[in-house]
């Protein structure tokens, strides 16, 4: 079975990062990680990667509430990156927020696949994995 190569986590919460990484390992979710602690760090690092077309993560798990640059700002910047490659990157918002306003806001972003409410568990990751792999085959 195919497996996600690189998964990217953008979150300011070290406990979540620790936990998410561990659950990903336990779920055999991906081969490697890219971790960024806020939107700014993520965009600064992801932009050259996307432009180079090398080692592009297949999936990004993006937190909303972060210092410096939050998830929404990251999305705004990220959609501006112009690439020649057509490799798709699936973005999942992973947030503690159960505010319907946040869920609705996701609909404004075409490249965001879904909204996942924390905590995440193995089942959630398996579902995401299936969706990402399905999407890559298309």
């Amino acid at each position: 079975m195919k497996k996600i190569d690189i998964a990217c986590i953008v979150d300011d919460d070290p406990i979540f990062i620790f936990g998410a990484k561990r659950i990903m390992q336990l779920a055999d979710f991906c081969n490697s990680f890219m971790i960024f602690k806020d939107g700014k760090e993520a965009i600064d690092n992801l932009k050259p990667i996307v432009l180079s077309g090398q080692n592009i993560p297949e999936v990004i798990l993006l937190d909303i509430n972060m210092p410096i640059m939050d998830g929404w700002q990251f999305l705004d910047e990220f959609t501006k990156i112009e690439t020649k490659q057509k490799q798709k990157i699936l973005i999942y918002i992973v947030s503690s927020s159960i505010d319907p306003a946040d869920k609705n806001r996701v609909k404004n972003y075409q490249n965001v696949s879904n909204f996942v409410v924390k905590p995440i568990n193995i089942e959630t990751l398996k579902r995401i994995s299936e969706e990402v792999l399905d999407d890559l085959e298309q």
Binding site: F16, R22, S95, S96, P119, N121
Partner: protein
């Protein structure tokens, strides 16, 4: 002969001229011959008294035509005085005519003397009824206006075209805190709030030019104490019959109290808005911060279970897991409550009550069958209420599960559900025959947060609190009757949806 003719003709024509004058002026004559005590009335005098021309008056009856009281007393005295004191009189009194009509008359009397003795009193008798009534009416109207002006609750003033006070009323003095004398000596420009001095100029000019008759504006004045007085000024220009401007009539309405209370209301509104914002903020903290901590705890416990299964096989781990689950539930509940309170302008939609019930029964059918719950329901299929579907689902479900949960220990639950219209409301009655609640003891906290009244494993004490909030959020009300060991009846009152 000619002379005689003329002389006989002359008195005739003199008579008729005299009559003519009498008639035209509505003036009659009268004469009392004191020797013979005979009273003569001219034709017109008889007309004024409304008696026929062959009427023969006498002194006593003639006085009795005067209206009893002031008029009769006055004429009697004047008449007596004219004879005894030789005084003539000219007075205005009221008579009651032979036909019973009340009239104002002018009576003039003049005593005639012979050798220092009064032999005759003669005089004029004039109908002045219309004139008197008119002038009295006018005087009354003037008095009315004067009183209105003086005692009006609003400040009123009359100003000349140069803006000098001609007349001011008490209310205006009170509003501005000046005495009448002080205010009359103070030009109104001096008491106008500096920034407002130009406000009235245009209106006054337009009125003088004749483009408008009247204008209204808000102007601030300064009272004697130095306080700002907010007023609504309504100004009218009065013109004479040639259309020339004469003076201004101005009404000055004190708005200070209104302004003060409206600024108070604004302040209150601001405070409330701030509090609402804080509540929203709180909801957000609950929703995000608390949830993220809970999420991490939950995740870490999952990892622990998978990573180090041996450390979870003890008494403590399941308890920690349970505590974390409860924390998650609590956070979720709090968020639910906050969400209801934060939602402002909710769109209410028509909801079929029977559909909601059928849906609820379906979702808890296993629980109903298992608990052998008996349900008796009577709801018309065409009853619609206004609400939010998700709230209605949760409300109905909560009452049904509560009724099953708090049944009597020794018998299955029995639930009765009725719905009926009451004016523009729909009353939904849900009656269980369960444990009941001691309302004397718990009534005031029945719908409170985290209140439970029965020791049941699933009692969270949040259901009724959320339910009440949800019912109120859709404009409804909730009433309760209950008796311990008999059962509880909830009346849920919803706004009825009228079909077009």
């Amino acid at each position: 002969m000619t002379l005689i003719k003329t002389s006989t003709a002359l008195p005739q024509s003199e008579d008729s001229l005299f009559d003519f004058i009498q008639k035209a002026a509505v003036i009659g004559t009268w004469e009392v011959d004191l020797k013979s005590n005979i009273l003569t009335w001219s034709e017109e005098t008889k007309n004024i008294h409304e008696v026929s021309s062959d009427y023969i008056p006498n002194v006593e009856t003639s006085l009795s035509y005067y209206k009893e009281g002031y008029s009769r007393d006055t004429i009697t005295k004047l008449f007596t005085d004219s004879i005894e004191k030789h005084e003539s009189f000219d007075t205005e009194l009221q008579i009651i005519t032979a036909k019973g009509n009340e009239k104002w008359v002018r009576s003039i009397g003049q005593p005639i003397f012979e050798n220092g003795e009064c032999v005759k009193v003669q005089g004029l008798f004039q109908d002045i009824d219309e004139k008197t009534k008119n002038s009295k009416k006018l005087a009354f109207k003037e008095e009315q206006l004067r009183r209105t002006f003086d005692h009006a609750v609003v400040g009123m003033a009359i100003l000349d075209l140069k803006g000098n006070w001609l007349k001011i009323n008490k209310s205006l003095c009170d509003t501005l805190g000046y005495s009448r004398e002080e205010l009359m000596e103070t030009p109104f420009v001096d008491i106008t709030y500096p920034e407002d001095k130009k406000i009235g100029y245009k209106g006054v000019n337009d009125m003088v030019n004749g483009t408008i008759n009247h204008f209204e504006t808000e102007i601030r004045y300064i009272s004697k104490k130095g306080d700002i007085v907010w007023t609504l000024v309504s100004s009218t220009l009065v013109k004479n019959d040639k259309g020339e401007p004469q003076h201004f009539v101005v009404q000055i309405n004190d708005l200070t109290d209104i302004k003060k209370s409206s600024s108070k209301v604004e302040q209150l509104l601001e405070t409330t808005e701030n509090q609402n914002k804080r509540l929203l903020n709180f909801a957000h903290i609950v929703s995000h911060n608390l949830r993220s901590h809970y999420g991490n705890l939950d995740m870490l416990l999952d990892i622990m279970k998978m990573d180090m299964p041996e450390t979870t096989k003890n008494e403590i781990f399941p308890l920690i897991k349970e505590a974390v689950n409860h924390l998650g539930e609590t956070v979720e509940n709090l968020n639910e409550v906050a969400a209801i309170n934060v939602k402002n302008d909710i769109e209410l939609e028509p909801i079929n009550l029977l559909d909601i019930f059928n849906k609820a029964f379906k979702s808890i059918s296993a629980q109903i069958i298992e608990s052998k719950t008996k349900i008796c329901m009577d709801i018309d299929a065409d009853i619609y209420v206004k609400g939010i579907p998700a709230y209605l689902d949760s409300i109905i479900l909560n009452f049904l599960t509560n009724a099953i949960k708090y049944k009597k220990a020794d018998e299955p639950a029995k639930i009765e559900v009725y719905a009926f219209a009451k004016k523009n409301k729909i009353v939904l009655q849900i009656k269980d025959h369960g444990l009941g609640i001691d309302l004397e003891k718990h009534g005031n906290k029945l719908f409170g947060m985290y209140k439970t009244f029965h020791k049941h494993k699933d009692s969270r004490g949040l259901g009724l609190f959320i339910t009440k909030n949800q019912i109120e959020a859709v404009g409804g009300q909730i009433e309760v009757e209950s008796e311990v060991n008999v059962g509880t009846t909830f009346n849920l009152i919803f706004i009825r949806h009228e079909k077009n």
